[in-house]
Amino acid sequence: MTETVLDVRNLRVEFPTRRGTLTAVDDISLTIAKGEILGVVGESGAGKSMTGMAILGLLEPPGRIASGEIWLSGDRIDNLSETQMQAVRGRRIGAIFQDPLTSLNPLFRVGDQLVETIRLHTQLSKSAARQRAIELMREVGIPAVEERIDNYPHQFSGGMRQRIVIALALCAEPELIIADEPTTALDVSIQAQITALLKRLCRERGTAVMLVTHDMGVIAETADRVAVMYAGRLAELGAVEDVVRRPQHPYTTGLMGSIPSLRRDEAELQMIPGAMPRLGAIPEGCAFNPRCAFAGPKCRRDTPRIHGNGAACWLALEGATA
């Protein structure tokens, strides 16, 4: 039995609005073991980022965790105070966001941002922290580090900036890294390099990774397990080989059918007619039922749910949709 690093139990994220409460993340349970990479896929708006932000304790008010628990290596973290959470973010959980062009503060030298992060989480002196920053930058593949460390973010290309963001996420050797579409904003030619770099660094360290993407190809190459999200719910969860080769949820099947084609979700989901419902308009029962070729009466009445490997589909769960 491998060590569980992240354990999310029945997580529900809500946004109170004037027109009622929207549920952006609806009863999600998942775990990530030490050294494991969990891919999270789904269309934009499926609730992938909200899940990541909830784990980091960075939901923007009025968004909030309405119920559920989040455990990190045996410590419950969803009910920590802001001060306690500051010692978790960056130290025990590293984050990588989508757009490297905007993740770094434009007015601070990259070296200073690294040194700041290192010193926040370790007892290192200024010069030792700088030494560590240089090593990290070298490790993520920045050439001529001694010359570049005092440069500003705008002096680096997008790919180089995302490498620096990865270095920032690794500053304190966290147990878990949440990478929210780390390559989506990058040039196609360097996406694979960055994904490979992230995978190698985390494997070497035994870091658990939650890799959010809407690129099934990236999942197939990088992840150990995959969670498919749809309209804030888990549609399917399982080992990558199983889900890719024998998808059980009709939505996953649709996603898989598109791997060899264009890699963007808009194009991908032309396979499945219709669009994902808006948060305020999720149908009764299975959220996928308006688009599903197999939908039966049960699908329009009862919501299929999973809290472990499997597919949230009556066909898979009970063999019938009647």
């Binding site: 980091l56 960075l58 905007t102 992060t117 926040l120 002096q155 790919g159």
Partner: protein, 330 residues
């Protein structure tokens, strides 16, 4: 950076030449300088001789060139009213205005920036709403009303601070400063507060708007995700990204403050350039008015240039084109 400096300086010089043309035209054509200078009994011959001596018979370009050449050397002629060198008159009054404006600016930044950050960070809190409301009052009250209210409260009723004048001054070289004596500092308090009220609210509202924008950016969220404490994110990472417009505003407003000091100086009988200008207007003392116009414009232009240069200093992205040099490799 050097090319940038040269370009900005050339721009500034060009603007000043245009202002000089305006000042010169007023000086030369609003009323006859000769009529203003001679006394009633002067003969026609006396007048013609004075006209020749002042060079008023020369061509327009020659006269303009002379005006500019003299102005560059700080020579604006003799005041009609009290026959003193205009530059000496202004030199006597300039320190008073400068110190008033300087202190008002410092107050507006020291008070306005933190208020702006607080109202942005704790938006919707009771404190923030109260401050917002206060700032509306602040921008809508005319500064002479603020001045009079301050005098009523702190001079007349409480008797804590003087209501007019500059107190004792000390000469440092040609500069007479009120900052070094207790009575000089006391005299500065009310006029400076009065002059800065509008400015404080302006700075506060600008910082608030910029902070609200900046707090939504990815790098602020990412800084939080790195574990940077919220206060440091707000006061260091976000605030620094808001300072650019504050620098612009302050730079531009110092010019306005010098111009508006006129009102404050009148209310508090503050012996600055504004008061001198008001007196000059009353006596149609054209050389003093021309010199005041030139000087205030010069300050405006110099500040504008300084603001541009400071920009480049605060924001590395504007500094040079190293972006092109270093950013090519993926």
């Amino acid at each position: 950076m050097l090319a940038f400096l040269i370009k900005r300086t050339a721009n500034a010089a060009f603007v000043m030449l245009a202002v000089a043309l305006l000042a010169f035209t007023i000086f030369r054509f609003f009323g006859d300088p000769v009529e203003m200078m001679v006394n009633e009994q002067a003969t026609q011959a006396d007048r013609a001789e004075l006209r020749e001596r002042l060079g008023l018979n020369d061509g327009f370009v020659t006269q303009y060139t002379r005006f500019v050449t003299n102005a560059v050397q700080g020579d604006f002629g003799i005041s009609y009213r009290n026959q003193q060198d205009v530059m000496v008159l202004i030199g006597d009054r300039f320190p008073a205005t400068f110190e008033l404006v300087l202190v008002a600016t410092v107050i507006s930044l020291v008070v306005g920036i933190p208020l702006g950050v607080i109202t942005a960070v704790h938006r919707d809190s009771r404190l923030a709403n109260a401050l917002q409301l206060g700032s509306i009052v602040g921008v809508s009250l005319p500064s002479f009303v603020v001045g009079i209210m301050l005098i009523l409260a702190f001079s007349v009723t409480l008797g804590w601070l003087p209501a007019f004048g500059r107190g004792e001054t000390v000469d440092v070289g040609w500069w007479s400063t009120g900052l070094l004596t207790p009575s000089g500092r006391a005299a500065l308090v009310l006029p400076a507060i009065s002059l800065s009220t509008f400015q404080i609210t302006l700075v506060m509202r600008l910082v608030r708007a910029e902070m609200l924008e900046t707090l939504r950016t990815d790098y602020v969220k990412f800084a939080r995700a790195r574990g940077v404490p919220a206060a440091r994110v707000q006061w260091v990472h976000a605030l620094r990204n808001c300072l650019m417009p504050v620098i612009t505003l302050t730079g531009m407003q110092i010019g306005n403050l010098i111009a508006f000091a006129l009102v404050t100086e009148t209310v508090f009988q503050w012996p600055g350039m504004g008061l001198l200008f008001i007196q000059a207007v009353t006596f149609v003392d054209i050389p003093v008015m021309a010199a005041y116009l030139m000087l205030v414009s010069f300050i405006f232009v110099a500040l504008n240039t300084a603001v541009d240069v400071t920009y480049a200093w605060v924001d590395p992205r504007l500094r040079d084109d190293t972006a092109k040099a270093g950013g090519a490799n993926g």
